[in-house]
């Protein structure tokens, strides 16, 4: 991990409110594990101060023949405009200078078993699942993506997963795309079909909590990627902690989302008292 001082190659709106930013990042791909994240900030001085944490959607390389230049490695962010920082990001252009701290944190752990690999993504939560799918497929596994969202607009990049050879199942709350209903219902069906499975999930807290229950009763191993407000991203400020299993005032077991996470095995966490509040 290091602090990349680099430039934007592209920054486009791919769905209403969802943007995709491609950033020049030589040597980044080799360092990344699926599920890791970066702390991002534009270089010029801005009204916002702190860096913003973002998952690493994918990495790649511009082939030399594109434009004569030597091959250039890049990494991509997929982000949703929710506040001032992400609004400012959406106003950046190719060539603007940005800083990336990363790759940071603890990613997904892949088990080379014959059990089904079920990836569950809610909205923007699909971001860390792409590199995971890529890696699992490289290891010769078949991968199934269960992708949920409020409406069709919240279903992102599914075709890219399919191009990898991932079997995708889309569901939306309003039925505007794929099956109508919650992604967790699809998950229950799949687990009925594949009792031997490993689940990897990322999305809003209520979805993760539901997924955790479903997996617990079926004793299916689960890994989740969490979000937390972060200041440093490197385990120094302790601003991003979550309550770990067996946490108590006397025997505190706070885990840093930025360092021990963002990906946790479900049984590392204290699901009863994650201390997550309404707005998150």
């Amino acid at each position: 991990m290091k602090n990349y001082q680099t430039i934007i190659l592209a920054n486009q709106e791919i769905a209403p409110g969802y943007w995709r930013m491609r950033i020049l990042a030589p040597g980044f791909a080799a360092a990344v594990q699926p599920g890791q994240f970066v702390m991002f900030r534009p270089e010029q001085s801005l009204p916002t101060m702190l860096r913003r944490p973002f998952g690493i959607f994918r990495t790649g390389c511009l082939p030399p023949e594109c434009d004569g230049l030597p091959p250039r490695e890049y990494m991509e962010l997929l982000y949703k405009v929710v506040g001032q920082g992400t609004r400012i990001m959406s106003e950046l252009h190719a060539g603007d200078r940005v800083e990336l701290l990363g790759p940071l944190g603890h990613g997904f752990t892949m088990a080379d078993t014959d059990c089904a690999k079920l990836l569950v993504g809610g909205g923007i939560g699909l971001v860390p699942l792409f590199l995971l799918a890529e890696a699992l497929i490289q290891r010769g596994h078949q991968v199934r993506l269960l992708m949920g969202g409020r409406t069709r607009d919240d279903i992102l990049a599914v075709t890219e997963f399919e191009r990898l050879g991932v079997e995708t199942y889309v569901s939306t709350d309003d039925g505007s795309l794929g099956e109508e209903g919650l992604v967790t219902r699809v998950l229950e069906r799949k687990l009925a079909k594949y009792p031997c499975a490993e689940v990897y999930a990322c999305g809003p807290m209520p979805m993760l909590a539901a997924v955790e229950q479903i997996c617990r009763v079926r004793q299916v191993p689960l890994q989740v990627s969490l979000e937390a407000h972060m200041a440093c991203g490197v385990g120094a400020c302790l601003g991003c902690v979550v309550k770990g299993a067996g946490h108590s005032e006397q025997q505190p077991n706070y885990l840093c989302t930025c360092k021990e996470g963002p990906v946790f095995a479900a049984d590392q966490l204290d699901w009863g008292r994650l201390g997550v509040r309404r707005e998150e």
């Binding site: 991990m1 290091k2 602090n3 900030r41 009204p47 916002t48 101060m49 702190l50 860096r51 800083e99 701290l101 937390a228 407000h229 972060m230 200041a231 440093c232 991203g233 490197v234 385990g235 120094a236 400020c237 302790l238 601003g239 991003c240 902690v241 979550v242 946490h247 108590s248 005032e249 505190p252 706070y254 201390g275 997550v276 509040r277 309404r278 707005e279 998150e280």
Partner: protein, 307 residues
């Protein structure tokens, strides 16, 4: 003059520092967290996360929120406890020749004394920084650092426990910081560092909830710099012992404001989050300033305020 590089070395309470720049407690972990991003050997000193007698759980989430040019934090002083620090963390400091300053606190007078005692003979700890911005649970939660008598009492007690240089860190949440400064000086402090965070609050207007679970948090960052510069200026006028300036330092120019009003050294906090190598840029910027101004020693800048 432009020939040889200017000297950045300063001395604070007997500590010889290669330059006046060090991290502010709680923003730099125990140091190793930032090792990948900057060479710890270039810093004037390392200041640890605040240590307490027992491991401390800290506050519920969310613990941080960004405000305009600042941030609120209510970490709740979560830390591994002084014993775990001594056994697990100090090892990393051995190969560094950068002095380590252990920041600590207590919930009662006795706790303060006991932590001091356990740090007294730790060879890897060059000095201690006493955080008196904590409520005294034995005295209806009145914050030690807001009452000159309570402040002097803690300092006197801690002073008895150790011979290491003793830096006392003041809270800005007081009517007249010079009263507290003089009290801790008389009680035996070797140096004063200020300021700690200013209590603040932010509200999520949609949920109607405080943005921080603890309701209020400590405000830090560039927003508070003018308040910090003012208080450091006041304290420098009020006491004879050296003062370490803290509060909203993001750039070399910010650091120089503190040095000019008389701070012997500075601590950098929130800036470490914005840029993990911020302190290196600040050190280089101070050197560049000295060269531009034709000065050969940073001590020529310290206390150079004209009025």
């Amino acid at each position: 003059m432009a020939e040889k590089r200017p000297s950045l070395a300063v001395e604070v309470a007997g500590l010889k520092l290669r330059n006046p720049v060090m991290p502010a407690s709680g923003t730099f972990g125990y140091g190793q967290e930032f090792a990948p991003y900057l060479d710890l050997r270039r810093l004037g000193a390392i200041v640890t996360k605040g240590l307490s007698l027992k491991p401390k759980a800290g506050n519920p989430m969310p613990r941080i929120a960004e405000t305009t040019s600042g941030m609120l934090n209510a970490i709740g002083l979560q830390n591994v406890g002084v014993d775990a620090f001594v056994t697990d963390k100090t090892r990393d400091y051995r190969e560094l020749d950068t002095p380590v300053i252990a920041n600590f606190f207590g919930n009662t007078l006795d706790e303060y004394g006991e932590v001091a005692r356990r740090l007294a003979d730790v060879p890897e700890v060059a000095a201690v920084e006493l955080n008196i911005s904590c409520p005294n649970v034995k005295q209806g939660g009145i914050v030690f650092g807001t009452d000159p008598r309570a402040a002097a009492e803690v300092v006197t007690l801690v002073r008895r426990q150790l011979s290491k240089p003793l830096i006392v860190k003041l809270t800005p949440n007081v009517t007249d910081i010079t009263v507290i400064a003089r009290a801790v000086e008389e009680a035996g402090a070797d140096a004063i560092s200020c300021i700690n965070t200013i209590t603040g609050m932010a509200v999520d207007i949609r949920t109607r909830q405080p943005k921080i679970a603890n309701r209020t948090g400590g405000l830090s960052g560039p927003a508070i710099r003018p308040i910090a510069v003012r208080m450091v200026h006041q304290v420098v006028q009020a006491v004879r012992i050296p003062v370490i300036g803290i509060g909203g330092i993001m750039t070399a120019s910010d650091a120089l404001e503190f040095l000019i009003v008389g701070a012997r050294a500075v601590q950098v906090g929130t800036a470490n989050f914005v840029d993990p190598a911020a302190m290196l840029a600040i050190i280089d910027g101070i050197e560049a300033f000295l060269i531009e101004e034709g000065l050969n020693d940073v001590n020529q800048v310290i206390g150079s305020l004209k009025t």
